[in-house]
Symmetry: C2
Subunit: 110 residues, 2 copies
């Protein structure tokens, strides 16, 4: 199910790590989950469901499985937590916010 580094993914037979990560980031809710875990910290299953405005449990569970298999999150005391790697990855996403604001301002009429 979850594709690990070294394994082929859709669009890349090489298994190059960046291709593997782009494959999971290209699944629905993955980016959002990393975003929420980074911004609001650890959360339980149902908390995360609420933060993502009622993502279905099926989808949430699948994404959590993916992230766990890839060593990006783990089960902690207070629910699901970013690992060291997950934290670093989600930190890379932080500049997206500022970029998006400038982009939206220039792209859409007021």
């Amino acid at each position: 199910m979850t594709k690990l580094p070294g394994q082929a993914v859709r669009g890349s037979t090489t298994g190059r790590p960046v291709m593997v990560i782009m494959d999971v980031l290209g699944k629905r809710w993955t980016l959002r989950l990393l975003w929420e875990l980074n911004r609001q910290g650890p959360g339980t299953f149902r908390e995360l469901q609420a933060r993502c405005e009622d993502v279905s449990p099926t989808s949430l569970n699948n994404r959590l499985k993916d992230l766990r298999n890839l060593n990006l999150i783990e089960n902690g005391e207070r629910g699901f937590v970013l690992t060291e790697h997950g934290l670093a990855l989600s930190a890379l996403l932080a500049p997206l916010d500022q970029w998006a604001n400038g982009w939206a301002k220039a792209t859409t009429p007021p």
Copy 2:
């Protein structure tokens, strides 16, 4: 079809720009396309298809539509080109490569 900034997307009714962009980035091939356009420059429809290891024309066309509607790519002389905003966005993705290599090294056994 394509959701513009200010419009509700799955998981966010606010239309916040960062949510809108995470919605499209969460569709298959979006990240990969930005990646390829940034790394290898502009390309024709069929070139991009090849770079993405034979993505179906249906999917490619849908993603190109999305990116065009969002002012991230445009049709230039040599095919599809990143706009100013698209270039800035894809530049944000560049650190993913280095991160992924470190992550894979630590995550998977040799």
